[in-house]
């Protein structure tokens, strides 16, 4: 056995290298958008902001922040640090005077930024996110080499690195890069062949060919759809007491996968989801897309129906504003936004676009409201709907007859059970069965519908209370958030007379050139899902309290690039994947770390853990059980009975899928809100009750317990071991050494080192000789060991 450094010593040595650094602090001039506005918003606006102005002071506009107050003080006197009351308050040690009155004091850096900014004249700038979108000049930002030869992304990234005197990072090695990109683009590991080919390919176009191949993979849609599904709170059930199934919800999931694979222009994607029923010629696909509205939680037995109605509308307002605009409009439901320039009136004006939407139902889901039979052949959606409506009516009738006959028998006893009645009952039963079968065979979608062409009035509700009294001056019309200074929406009901046309007006504005947010928000999300964090770290909050962009020009360049490419994603994604920034190594650099430990400048590529789905799918790939079948109704992985026992009716709403079905990609796992598949829940699956822009990455001992002891991992390591025994020459012929080699190749998709093989043999030997484990079992445990490695779970 080769020599090994003791774990703790290795650990220590590694840390010692990276942390034996002196304290240093880089001083950069205060920037209003980056340093001042977020500070004022987070620490001052609660009492001195758009909604509340204690002592008559508000910090959200220049005029109000610099005005003389009733007390005679001036909070901010541009250019005069000593006269600015704010500075004496944030530094005061007097408990009665100091600001903010609660929470931590401002840090020395924050105070110094504030001082610097006031000293420089306290310039206010329009909030970066609301400025109109202008394509930055790449030339202006280029450092060194001429801009034409360098990927525009690197122009911005390298300018940032130069500004902070940070070195351009080295390139990642080819295997690490391929593994990173393959997971990133498809959610799956590269195959051994793909690694070998790429490592051996010396042509200058090798990387570009990989990028093209990955973006063309059908698995791309599965991976990128998953991100979108997090944002739109996708689940297959309603939560609450019954947590009932949403009919046909999986078609929405498939729609998203197909849209990404087809590189559907994002403007179409938005319009279809928000108003696929209101466009001039709705298609099956555009109707399926409107399932967007039906994915959230729904209480079929609300304590207060009107309250629940508005909670449902709030879910749509919140999800829509955050997902497409990164605006936390829902914070203005009860009062003007505490931090952002969003009025309560804006909230209700946005809600008005959705006011005419039908609810999911009342106690029972209403198929008339949420179910759209998918047209076949020449049929229009409206005709398909009529056919289905007629069938539903007949079904209801038939069920009613059955019930009535049964009731008659119950009331009149056995004498009512004559031959005629029996025959009658049988006939109606048959009718019900037939209609149910017809219904089950009908392809249908979960959709949104409205009550008709006119919507009820929408009022600003005092403190968000739906029971509050309304009055004419509280009446609002559909309107876009006022801070964006958009024109009044033009609303025309579609010809079919089924809806108001309001949602189409909203959707069109969201993707219109006059709205600067959508493209920025999308560009940021694309970057986030490639790099692990957005240029704006708060991807669904571009407001004052959100994180300012670390690379504002890059963000705007990407946003305009999306528009230039007709809202298609893959072109920009290719540019990103081709950039040096994306291909950078993840290796540490102690000086860079000392200066920028959060990697604000992208002085390296950040490592990341596999997501819950990637981890589970990888286990299936490695074991060989993986089933690449795409699309269709959700699958049901086996859930241990202890977990099913937590339900009020154990097993209810959970099906049995064959092992082959269970080994499909995790994006196809049925999402039951109250019963999440354990390995996915353990590894921080998105909570589906609200839109999820960034997943947590937690590290907990219960994850380790699951990775070692769970039925799933134990069983998959057995399948993996069988595979290895077969591939390494058959269970009888295979010698342990070739099994170990093969297992490493399969799990880690690389050549094993001699040390590793020795290490593996030593473990197997120890298990067999010291612990009395049988040879077959020892290989299974070795396979389990490989699946637990940090190298398996993390990407460089």
């Amino acid at each position: 056995m080769a020599q090994h450094i003791s774990p703790t010593a290795a650990f220590g040595a590694a840390l010692a290298v990276f942390f034996s650094l002196s304290c240093s602090l880089q001083v950069i001039a205060a920037d209003f958008s980056r340093d001042i506005q977020p500070l004022l918003a987070k620490r001052c606006f609660a009492c001195h902001g758009p909604d509340t102005q204690e002592a008559g002071l508000r910090f959200d506009t220049a005029a109000s922040a610099t005005a003389e107050l009733d007390s005679g003080y001036q909070a901010i006197v541009p250019g005069d640090v000593d006269a600015s009351e704010i500075l004496s308050r944030v530094t005061s040690s007097d408990l009665d005077l100091q600001m903010p009155p609660e929470g931590a004091r401002l840090t020395a850096d924050e105070v110094s930024a504030l001082r610097g900014w006031i000293d420089d004249g306290a310039q206010w700038k329009e909030h970066w996110a609301f400025r109109s979108l202008v394509r930055p000049n790449v030339q202006e930002h280029s450092v060194g080499s001429s801009a034409g030869e360098i990927n525009p992304i690197d122009v911005f990234i390298q300018a940032g690195l130069a500004e902070h005197s940070l070195p351009v990072p080295p390139k990642a090695d080819r295997r690490a890069l391929l593994r990173r990109a393959t997971y990133n683009v498809t959610g799956l590991p590269p195959s051994e062949q793909e690694v070998q080919d790429f490592v051996a390919d010396t042509s200058p176009h090798a990387w570009e060919q990989v990028v093209d191949r990955l973006l063309a993979s059908p698995h791309y849609g599965e991976q990128w759809a998953r991100h979108w599904l997090d944002l739109v709170r996708y689940a297959d059930t309603n939560s609450y007491e019954r947590d009932g199934n949403k009919p046909h919800s999986w078609r929405y999931r498939d729609y998203v996968i197909r849209s990404f694979n087809d590189d559907k222009p994002f403007d179409d994607f938005v319009i279809e989801q928000l108003a696929g029923d209101e466009i001039p010629e709705p298609t099956a696909e555009s109707l399926i897309a409107t399932g967007y509205y039906r994915l959230g939680i729904w209480d079929d037995e609300p304590a207060d129906k009107l309250q629940h109605r508005y909670d449902q509308l709030d879910d749509v307002v919140a999800t829509t504003a955050k997902t497409f605009l990164a605006m936390t409009v829902d914070c203005a439901r009860c009062h003007d936004h505490k931090i952002d320039p969003i009025l309560q009136r804006d909230y209700y004006s946005l809600l008005a676009f959705f006011q005419n939407i039908t609810p999911m139902g009342d106690r029972q889901m209403n198929p008339d409201f949420i179910e759209q039979p998918l047209p076949k052949g020449e049929m229009t959606p409206a005709e398909a709907k009529d056919i289905a409506r007629d069938r539903n009516r007949r079904l209801q009738e038939a069920r009613g007859e059955v019930k009535a006959i049964k009731q008659r028998i119950k009331e009149h006893g056995e004498q009512a059970r004559d031959e005629l009645t029996k025959k009658d009952l049988k006939a109606w039963h048959e009718k019900v069965r037939q209609l149910e079968q017809e219904k089950a065979q009908m392809a249908a979608a979960l959709v949104v519908t409205e009550y008709g062409t006119t919507a009820p009035d929408t009022f600003v509700l005092y403190r968000g209370n739906p029971h509050a009294e309304t009055s004419p001056e509280l009446l609002v019309e559909p309107a876009f958030p006022s801070v964006l200074k958009a024109a009044t929406p033009t609303i025309e009901p579609p010809e079919n007379g089924r809806s108001t046309g309001r949602r189409l007006a909203l959707a069109k504005w969201i993707v219109s050139a006059e709205n600067p947010l959508t493209a920025r928000v999308l560009a940021n999300r694309i970057w986030q899902y490639h790099f692990g964090r957005g240029i704006v770290r708060s991807p669904s909050n571009f407001g004052f309290a959100g994180d300012p962009p670390t690379h504002p020009e890059l963000l705007d360049w990407m946003a305009t690039e999306l528009l230039r490419q007709g809202w298609q994603l893959k072109g920009l994604q290719k540019t990103i994947l081709m950039s040096a920034a994306y291909q950078a190594a993840s290796t540490p650099n102690q000086e860079a770390y000392a200066q920028d430990s959060r990697n604000e400048s992208f002085w390296r590529f950040d490592m990341r853990r596999l997501s819950a789905e990637e981890l589970r799918d990888s286990v299936h790939i490695v074991s060989g059980a993986f089933n690449p079948k795409m699309f269709g109704p959700g699958t049901f992985p086996s859930i241990p009975k202890e977990v099913l026992a937590t339900q009020s009716k154990p097993g209810q709403g959970w099906g049995n899928s064959s092992p082959e079905e269970q080994a499909r990609r995790s994006v196809y796992v049925h999402v039951k809100r109250s019963l999440i598949t354990p390995i996915l829940a353990d590894f921080d699956l998105a909570d589906t009750d609200t839109t999820c822009p960034v997943r947590f990455v937690t590290t907990q001992p219960t994850q380790a317990l699951g990775m070692m002891n769970s039925e799933f991992m134990q069983q998959q390591s057995k399948v993996f071991a069988q595979r290895i025994a077969g591939e390494a020459g058959g269970p009888d012929m295979a010698d342990t050494k070739s099994c170990v080699r093969r297992a490493i190749e399969v799990a880690l998709v690389r050549e094993p080192t001699d040390d590793e093989v020795q290490h593996g043999l030593a473990l197997i030997n120890e298990l067999e000789t010291t612990e009395g484990i049988s040879p077959g079992r020892s290989l299974e445990l070795y396979c389990l060991f490989l699946l637990n490695l940090n190298e398996f779970a993390y990407l460089d």
Partner: protein
């Protein structure tokens, strides 16, 4: 209050060792690293003060905001909604009305009504303790402890429907998706025992409550703060025991190998604290495997103690075992333990729509001795002083019948009773009241966290729990969705002052 774990053991430019470690990677990795990195390893290290906000281990013990009265909570959840007028809220005026149609506003599963048939309380009440508290014959054993108990008779909730009312009692909101009380407590205080989860839930043998895991989820907070299910039989925690064909010694060999390989992998990635955290998590898992079985091993308890909890009788043994486990958990530093009485649907829990007498006699009979035993045991060991025990369901029941026949009562969220004991709560007192029929809370008046309405809203109860634990309910916040979210909501909510000792 033990807060030793949060004291700095080494300092790096003013940061504690842990703060330093968490900010090093700039990511949200969730556990303490003491296992692998204890000792003097960091003593000679320094760290650049780069002005980056520290990411703290979310589960490291944290200092409360002010001196706490309670260290941990045992919430005995009477799922389904026990009838207050048949248990602790004595209504002499209701007996003579039995069977009469009376005018009273109610709202329950069956909708709103303005008149219904009264159902007189089905049990006699008698006075207990020095305080002379009236308690029904359903709870002769709990009756012995009334001098340690503070009753809240004017509880109100927003929903008389199980699904949303359960969510509200557990998470403050009738909407699904918010973190539970136990999550907030662990978020605010962390855990003092790294070998056990900080938030544990035990279910009735009949099954889980409706909405299952939503009742102990961490909602928009990371999974670090969700509850772990604890079972009194079989494997106490999911995946805790390795399968038979992976004996502990073999697993240890595997773990040693894993640690070695992971450490080598870490060698060239030494500034990634997540990797270090994951290495440590396997050692913590190992220790959890070792400690959790000990924590649930009741053979260490005396025959007398077991009897005290009712383990000697079939009907009380299940809930008794849960209560005894709850004590063992808080003894070991678990912050928040929730024990369900009642599971599944209908009469498998306290949801007495049909035959109230049968239903309540059954559930009270299963729980009376165990709960009394828990209070007695906590008291004699001194643990009651720092353990807050809460009893109650998601709502109460109406003074009137739901159906034309029978004693069943519909849900009532206009007024119901909960009680607390220990953990800094005054004993032998009752606060708030319902009207003479028990239909709705009438006092105290406005301004108790329930807008203009009478009574103590669920929010007031939550505020009281946080307050007793040393957390200001109006300051304990979590930034999510553009807003500082609080368990008690946006409006300020005061703890129930009369209860505080």
């Amino acid at each position: 209050m033990s807060t030793n774990d949060s004291k700095p053991r080494g300092s790096f430019c003013g940061n504690t060792r842990r703060e330093f470690f968490w900010e090093a990677g700039g990511s949200f990795a969730g556990l303490a690293l003491s296992g692998l990195l204890d000792g003097n390893f960091f003593a000679n290290q320094t760290h650049a003060a780069d002005g980056v906000t520290g990411y703290q281990n979310p589960l490291a013990a944290k200092l409360p905001m002010f001196a706490p009265k309670a260290k941990s909570v045992i919430f005995l959840f009477m799922y389904g909604g026990p009838s207050h007028v048949d248990t602790f809220d004595y209504k002499p005026a209701l007996y003579p009305l039995d069977g009469k149609i009376i005018k009273v506003k109610t709202k329950g599963r069956g909708g709103e009504r303005s008149e219904s048939r009264a159902v007189g309380p089905k049990w006699k009440f008698k006075q207990y303790g020095e305080c002379g508290k009236w308690v029904s014959d359903l709870f002769p054993h709990i009756g012995q402890h009334v001098d340690d108990i503070a009753f809240i008779h004017s509880m109100t909730a927003d929903s008389p429907i199980h699904g949303s009312a359960m969510l509200q009692m557990n998470s403050g909101k009738i909407q699904s998706g918010a973190p539970c009380l136990g999550s907030w407590v662990n978020y605010g205080l962390g855990s003092v025992n790294e070998n056990l989860p900080g938030f544990m839930v035990m279910l009735d043998k009949k099954g889980g409550p409706i909405s299952g895991a939503k009742n102990w989820a961490s909602g928009y907070m990371p999974a670090t703060y969700q509850a772990t299910l604890l079972r009194s039989q079989g494997d106490p925690i999911l995946n805790l025991a390795p399968p038979d064909d992976m004996p502990l010694a073999a697993q240890r060999a595997l773990l040693n190998s894993l640690q070695q390989s992971n450490s080598e992998h870490f060698l060239s990635r030494g500034d990634n604290s997540e990797l270090a955290a994951r290495i440590a998590s396997y050692e913590l898992a190992w220790r959890m495997q070792e400690h959790a079985p000990e924590a649930v091993d009741l053979s260490q308890e005396t025959v007398e103690t077991k009897k005290l909890y009712g383990l000697d009788q079939d009907r009380t043994s299940h809930f008794g075992r849960q209560c005894l486990l709850a004590r063992r958990m808080v003894e070991r530093g678990v912050r928040f333990v929730q024990v369900y009485s009642g599971g599944a649907h209908n009469d498998d829990n306290w949801d007495a729509h049909g035959d109230l007498e049968k239903n309540h006699a059954f559930h009270a009979g299963n729980t009376d001795r165990p709960i009394a035993g828990l209070l007695a045991d906590l008291k004699r060991s001194g643990l009651l002083d720092e353990t807050l025990v809460i009893w109650g369901g998601e709502f109460g029941r109406q003074p009137t019948a739901e159906y034309a026949k029978g004693t069943g009562r519909d849900h009532n969220s206009f007024g119901f009773t909960m009680w607390m004991a220990g953990g800094g709560v005054k004993g032998g007192i009752s606060v708030g009241e319902t009207d003479e029929l028990g239909a709705a809370a009438i006092a105290p008046g406005p301004g108790h966290g329930n807008g203009e309405k009478a009574g103590y809203h669920v929010k007031s109860l939550h505020a009281t729990v946080l307050h007793l634990l040393g957390l200001d309910p109006n300051r304990l916040s979590y930034f999510f969705g553009g807003l500082d979210q609080k368990l008690v909501g946006v409006e300020h909510v005061q703890p129930i002052k009369e209860l505080l000792g």
